[in-house]
Symmetry: C2
Subunit: 336 residues, 2 copies
């Protein structure tokens, strides 16, 4: 079988960034669409997910995945459609998700793919609430945070893709949810659209002071996406045996050297723990979680916002928007 005669536009890493990744970090070109071999499929990639973790993949240091090599297609999770198949299990026309990279066509194997049922939700939603974003919030909050009804759950980057889902799940299971976000518009979204009980604007308010006011019974679960000063403020307000869920540290990703939480000894004073996790470790429970998330979404209890930028050439700016916090909702690039 021959690959379609179109070209494959792709975004490759040209050099490692220093701080915020500028356009020179990327090499965008058109290549031939690869031929597939027995056991492989060709996927037309429609959308790719923009994730803060991408910034970490650009640095040449030890992490949970190897760094993206200079010259390689940028790593990204995508959704798309099988357009050619020489393998069992998937046929042309099937919708799938996988780590396709920032490109328009990807060669894949069945083991690396998950089938998408479009009767559950539109395609981009499988990159937000029903994708790794929603799954990250789900397992981070429920498995690492272990909230109980009545607990106070505080979420940073609460208007963001993961944070907004974490806070909504907290509400669904009967917790009080307080979100931290930057600017009045995001704070409005946090309360009015995502249903948090309260929001703190870290750009104009004293976060530690507001946490004292808004969490009179202290914090049982702090779901951290940002690190830095906000993590430090939350640490001063932990309840005894609190759980700090380390999901990300977006405030630090463009810093040369990470700054650790000065108030980490609150973990001792409050007999609390801080724990990291990776959604990849929960693959055997994705289906179960996706089912619950979809049900909540169908019931109108779990809202998602997707902000879709059109065109693969938007990728470099999309990443900067994400790292600056200028996006609103789950940021997605339509690469098709």
């Amino acid at each position: 079988m021959t690959a379609p005669t179109t070209r494959n536009r792709r975004v490759r890493l040209a050099k490692r960034p220093d701080g915020m990744p500028d356009d020179g970090v990327w090499d965008i070109d058109d290549a031939d669409v690869a031929d597939i071999e027995d056991g492989q499929l060709l996927v037309r990639v429609d959308y790719v997910s923009m994730d803060p973790a991408m910034r970490g993949w650009l640095d040449d240091k030890r992490s949970y995945l190897p760094p993206v090599a200079v010259g390689d297609v940028m790593r990204a999770i995508g959704v798309g459609e099988v357009v050619a198949s020489r393998s069992d299990g998937f046929a042309e026309g099937d919708h799938v998700t996988g780590a396709f990279g920032v490109q328009q066509y990807a060669v894949a194997t069945p083991a690396s793919l998950t089938r998408i049922d479009l009767s559950m939700a539109p395609l981009p939603v499988f990159l937000s609430v029903l994708g790794s974003t929603g799954l990250t919030a789900y397992f981070g909050l429920l498995d690492i945070g272990q909230p109980e009804p009545g607990d106070t759950v505080v979420v940073s980057a609460a208007a963001g893709a993961v944070g907004s889902v974490a806070g909504q799940i907290a509400k669904i299971i009967g917790c009080r949810a307080v979100g931290i976000a930057g600017g009045p518009e995001k704070c409005r979204l946090v309360v009015e659209e995502f249903g948090f009980d309260a929001a703190i604007d870290y750009r104009s308010e004293d976060v530690a002071q507001r946490l004292r006011e808004l969490c009179p019974e202290r914090i049982d679960v702090y779901f951290d996406n940002v690190g830095g000063d906000i993590l430090d403020a939350a640490l001063t307000r932990l309840d005894r045996h609190a759980r700090v869920v380390l999901c990300g540290a977006i405030s630090q990703y463009n810093q040369g050297r990470m700054r650790g939480p000065s108030n980490y000894m609150s973990l001792l004073v409050d007999r609390a723990r801080m724990e990291g996790f990776l959604v990849l470790d929960y693959a055997d429970r994705y289906a179960e979680a996706r089912g619950r998330l979809a049900a909540w979404r169908d019931q109108g209890r779990l809202r998602s916002r997707e902000q879709v930028l059109e065109g693969i050439d938007m990728f470099p700016e999309a990443l900067r928007m994400l790292l600056r916090g200028d996006n609103s909702g789950k940021l997605i690039v339509a690469v098709r």
Copy 2:
């Protein structure tokens, strides 16, 4: 009943320290021994335990216990003998331990006392291996660290009172133990006297490099007493699902502002957790733990060193020795 006609020499907090507590921080004087009322006992305090946590009690900030008030007797755990009793449960001549403060006579109630059986060990040992020092190592390592046989356990301040016990317990339950200590003499003690598999001298060696060499299968449990650069080095070498036990941060106690662990995001990369604890929370299991510790000590598997400074007036210098790391083994002041 009248109190003995002796005087009670005591160490009171005269003012809060800035950095290392100098002599001017303390007011040492002689007071009348207080009369006891019904339900109270008078304890002659023989020894008090020197603990790094004391430094934290001097600062006027939120912690697991209120700060020592200016003018109050310095808080300390001691061992001694009941010399007068107007309560049930304890009689003159009983040996007891409790939070007596740095003074020669303390008024106590039965609920605040634990009886000591001198057939188990000499009196000072109830401030070291069989006291809160040993109990801290026991619960911190076993309950928070949850080591399994074959695990690699790394302990900082490994020649110190708590660290030396933590490492020995790790060995007893079948782990590999690597200690970090300052200077060749302490490192020799760690290996030769306390039986760790290896020691790293943080004053002359590159801790991160040595951890790479000595922990080829990475670190399963890191028992931290020091914070700072050593904590950061250990974080870079965690195994997946590792446990970092926060027992103390002695390197930071005299700093104006604590420095947090820059490498804390290793907790995410390695799906690891960092957790604090307080031995006070395990009071209902002290007897069980003390029994095991005493048995290990009797079998010669758990060694303790006590360094006893004679005279209550030694307290200010003893605290500085402890904070500088100039002691060798469990530091105790004989106040009698």
